[in-house]
């Protein structure tokens, strides 16, 4: 079952097309990475999914129900962790979570239990009676998450949940995302930190100018741009004559020498590093360092959009 199914979605603001005929599905149990540079249409898409904006055309289904017709059902099953903190500074952590959970109809003992559960999940149970103004940035981010999960949504959208926090809190939050996923939540995760997306997302979509330009697993995305890897070998001194013998190794497409640096372009599917090193050692070359570079998401993003993610 698809938890989220977007079909032909468009959103215009006057002449500006923020989302352009977008179609996308997110399956149950996925951690879905949603990448796009600023202004690509990410936030507009999230706002459309959250029923905060009306689409110009197209439809959005959450748990197989059209959100235009079943807005309440959709909202009851959706939890949003906004990019900017959305908590009350003049209410305690407990009161914050309780207030927002109460908006989903929870009351009495159940509300209290869910509030405590959410605070425990993000590791703030000891700070329940404290006011957020006394919290660190990481603790505020965790409270921001607790406010979105106390009503146990099936789909959680996390918009840059680790922005501006310390490494320890980032590790905690990423672990929490995985744990939520293990508990059965489907998660849509946006981040400017490519390594986070690579680390936790099972599938990734890249949005640019309101369109999905790539969608798949990390490996699938990389395969869309190249099947070559880059091997860089630093020698003690330049050996221009080695290029010819290296080109005869299976998989090697190109060899270039620049000063004492050898740069070899090779088929990604062929494991030929040991053969390359053997040729170099046999020819008496003095190897100082070896680096094998496979294309990563950053490369994919840059290749597809022409921009860095943080642009």
């Amino acid at each position: 079952m698809n938890v989220l199914d977007i079909r032909g979605l468009s959103k215009k603001f006057g002449d500006f097309i923020a989302v352009d005929n977008m179609s996308l599905t997110v399956g149950e149990g996925e951690i879905f990475g949603f990448l796009g540079s600023n202004g690509a249409g990410k936030s507009t898409t999230i706002n459309l999914v959250a029923s905060l904006l009306r689409p110009s055309s197209g439809e959005i289904n959450i748990l197989d129900k059209n959100i235009a017709k079943h807005s309440r059902f959709a909202k009851m099953n959706l939890g949003i962790v906004p990019q900017d903190l959305a908590i009350y500074e003049d209410m305690t952590a407990f009161e914050n979570v309780k207030f927002f959970a109460g908006l989903y109809g929870l009351r009495g003992e159940e509300l209290k239990e869910r509030t405590e559960e959410a605070l425990k999940f993000v590791g703030l149970e000891d700070k329940a009676k404290s006011f957020p103004k006394n919290f660190s940035g990481g603790m505020k981010r965790r409270l921001n998450i607790a406010c979105a999960i106390a009503h146990r949504p099936k789909l959680i959208i996390m918009d840059e949940p680790t922005v501006g926090i310390d490494p320890q809190s980032r590790i905690y939050i990423l672990a929490s995302v995985r744990k939520l996923n293990e508990m059965g939540c489907t998660i849509i995760y946006t981040s400017h930190y490519m390594e986070e997306v690579e680390e936790i997302c099972s599938r990734i979509a890249i949005i640019d100018h309101g369109k999905i330009i790539a969608d798949g697993t990390k490996e699938q995305l990389i395969a869309t741009i190249t099947d070559l890897k880059d091997i860089r070998i630093e020698l003690k001194r330049g050996e221009p004559d080695l290029a010819l013998s290296l080109k005869n190794i299976p998989g090697v497409r190109d060899v270039s020498v620049e000063d004492n640096m050898l740069r070899i372009s090779s088929d990604m599917a062929v494991d030929n590093l040991s053969q390359i090193l053997k040729v170099l050692i046999d020819s008496g070359a003095d190897i100082r360092s070896v680096e094998e570079q496979e294309p990563n998401l950053e490369t994919v993003f840059l290749t597809l959009t022409g921009r860095n993610l943080r642009d």
Binding site: L52, A86, L103, G105
Partner: protein
């Protein structure tokens, strides 16, 4: 929707009343207004006329009796002075008025042609009118006795004794002057109206605050609609203002012991209707504001000046006619007019126009705000 609105209302009220500063603003300021009004009018209506009497007619009976009469007059404190002292004390404001009985005064009364009496004041007719009214009446009686005695002092004395000892007595009673408490009430209500409007704008501003701190985003991401959220804000606003009205009127009537001249419940109902118009104005201010800075500026531009023009701080009658006409376009003026009319004895039937106008004001403001909010529904602005 109803349960969610109630949840928002209770949470907001809990938050508002948790802060002591808010309690001071919502209830302390209107009470301070009542206190200021009582101070302003503290000395009004309780005046005793300080009169200096110069008896230049010696030991003549008529003159002596006149001096006695003046000193026994109600609301008058008489003091025997010389002519020089009288001039000095009047100039210094230590006396309000002076009565000079010149030589020959008694004879003129006996002759039936009263003369040689001078009443003076530098404060004008307002001060001398009361004194003249009573004193001239007394002198007229004395003159009538003089005419009856036909110039015979013994006969006059006899008639005068009879006059003094007559069984017919005029009992004078001082009527309690309610105009002062009415003025105090009016002034207190003027301050209450100002503080109600300020509280209302501050509470409605919470909509902008929650948009700025993005909690509004989280709220409308939940099953609560933006309409339900605004309705909850209006309910909170009305509850706070009704509490303001109840607390202020309670203190006004039972602590400061001021009788507004109108049943408290009627006054509360009238102010409750104004509260609705006030929420409407606040919603318009907030609907036209991009952030709290703008709404604060609009509040300063709208609330205090309109209260000033509408007569919340001083009677509108002292203002030029053109300004008074402008005041007619302000709901504060209509509520104060209604108060005046009720104080003057009109029933609710007599203020139906005021009530209808206030109601129309409220409806118009709500419609303008609803239109503006509807066209503000660009999520990019707030999310």
């Amino acid at each position: 929707m109803g349960k969610n609105i109630w949840w928002l209302v209770l949470s907001s009220l809990r938050k508002e009343f948790r802060k002591r500063g808010n309690i001071l603003i919502y209830f302390g300021l209107p009470l301070a207004g009542v206190l200021i009004s009582t101070f302003i009018y503290a000395n009004a209506g309780q005046s005793v006329l300080r009169v200096g009497v110069v008896n230049g007619d010696g030991a003549e009976t008529v003159a002596a009796e006149t001096v006695r009469f003046i000193s026994e007059m109600g609301q008058v404190k008489a003091e025997n002075v010389t002519e020089e002292e009288l001039a000095t004390l009047l100039a210094a404001g230590k006396l309000d008025s002076g009565v000079v009985l010149e030589e020959g005064y008694s004879q003129s009364v006996l002759a039936g042609q009263p003369d040689h009496i001078v009443i003076s004041s530098i404060k004008g007719a307002e001060v001398t009118a009361y004194l003249k009214a009573l004193l001239y009446n007394y002198i007229d009686n004395m003159t009538a006795l003089g005419r009856a005695a036909e110039g015979d002092p013994a006969r006059y004395q006899e008639l005068f004794e009879e006059y003094r000892n007559t069984v017919f007595k005029l009992q004078a009673e001082t009527v309690n002057d309610k105009s002062v408490t009415k003025d105090m009430t009016y002034q207190s209500l003027g301050f209450l109206i100002l503080f109600m409007m300020m509280s209302s704008v501050n509470l409605t501003e919470l909509i902008l605050k929650h948009r700025e701190d993005r909690t509004f985003y989280r709220i409308i991401s939940s099953p609560v609609s933006s309409r339900a959220y605004v309705i909850s804000n209006i309910i909170v606003n009305m509850i706070v203002m009704l509490l303001q009205i109840i607390v202020t009127l309670f203190f006004l009537r039972y602590v400061f012991k001021l009788d507004p001249g109108i049943p408290i419940t009627a006054l509360a109902g009238l102010l409750g209707l104004f509260a609705l118009a006030s929420v409407g104005i606040s919603l318009v201010i907030v609907a036209f504001s991009k952030n709290r800075g703008v709404s604060d500026s609009l509040q300063n531009l709208i609330v205090t000046p309109t209260c000033l023009l509408a007569g919340c701080f001083f009677p509108v009658e002292i203002m030029p006619v053109a300004v008074r006409r402008i005041a007619d376009f302000m709901p504060q003026r209509w509520v104060l007019l209604a108060v005046e009319e009720l104080q003057d004895g009109s029933g609710f039937g007599g203020i139906w126009l005021n009530l209808s106008t206030l109601f129309v004001f409220a409806i118009v403001f709500f419609l303008i705000a609803a239109y503006k909010f509807g066209h503000n529904n660009d999520t990019r602005k707030f999310i």
